[in-house]
Point group: C2
Chain length 119, copies 2
DNA sequence: CTTGAATCTGACACTGGCGTCAACTTTTAC
DNA sequence: GTAAAAGTTGACGCCAGTGTCAGATTCAAG
């Protein structure tokens, strides 16, 4: 599959896909002419990348993390080393805080919405 | 209270506080010389602003939303108009999606952390 | 072979909240 | 009155993911 199709079926722009490659998050074989050729597994991988971006992880963290995750591709899964684990633990704590904050903000919005429309 | 003290007791930089004012999120009386003078209620308000920023709302949305929220200041609470309510409903849906995504990402991290340290 | 669609690389811009520096003024303390 | 501390405005920069454009090349189809 080439970049246009991957873009279409993940909803991620071609620009972003090239950026992911540049950041070491996504690889592709090349045709003799230099065009990128993706496997089916790329679709899942792109979705996962987006998910991690959405969780506020930066490219370099994602790059280190991805090889440790089971892939729909049959790639061997590398266990995370100690350093990475401690980084991920920090990230997890940050995500937990984010979730709590979001739940509080959601409640705030709810109050305002209810006050205006409910009664 | 002046800007330095407000910054200290909210943990928000002076730069940010001035920015909030510029964006219409925070107001202050001025001394004859032009220095900002904040009431006690500003502390709560700043915290709330940070919370809403953390939830991914942009300045303009927050500016419209704040007058509709009960304030520790005795300011009258304006009910949200129809347009704002629909905007807030959209934001709320976005926040809900974010929470779900974060929970999924958290689970991913958990799996990797566990796989490396647990066994 | 030709043509049009798709892709390539590289460069520049934007967003938006905030850091940071400069030059100046006000306030506070002695 | 003088100096230090705190405040003022304005401008520029950063981050990091992405949009977008230019100019060249490759691929697929007739």
């Amino acid at each position: 599959m080439r970049i246009g199709e991957l873009a279409r079926c993940t909803g991620v722009s071609e620009r972003s896909l090239r950026y992911y490659e540049q950041e070491g998050l996504l690889s592709a074989r090349r045709t003799p002419g230099g065009h990128r050729e993706y496997t089916e597994a790329a679709v899942d991988r792109v979705r996962r990348i987006q998910e991690l971006y959405a969780a506020g992880l930066c490219s370099s963290k994602i790059a280190k993390l991805l090889p440790c995750m089971r892939d729909s591709d049959g790639r061997p899964t590398v266990p995370a080393d100690e350093c990475l684990v401690s980084e991920l633990t920090v990230e997890r704590a940050r995500i937990d805080r984010m979730i709590r904050d979001l739940q509080r903000s959601r409640a705030l919005l709810d109050t305002v919405i209810e006050a205006a429309s409910g009664r």
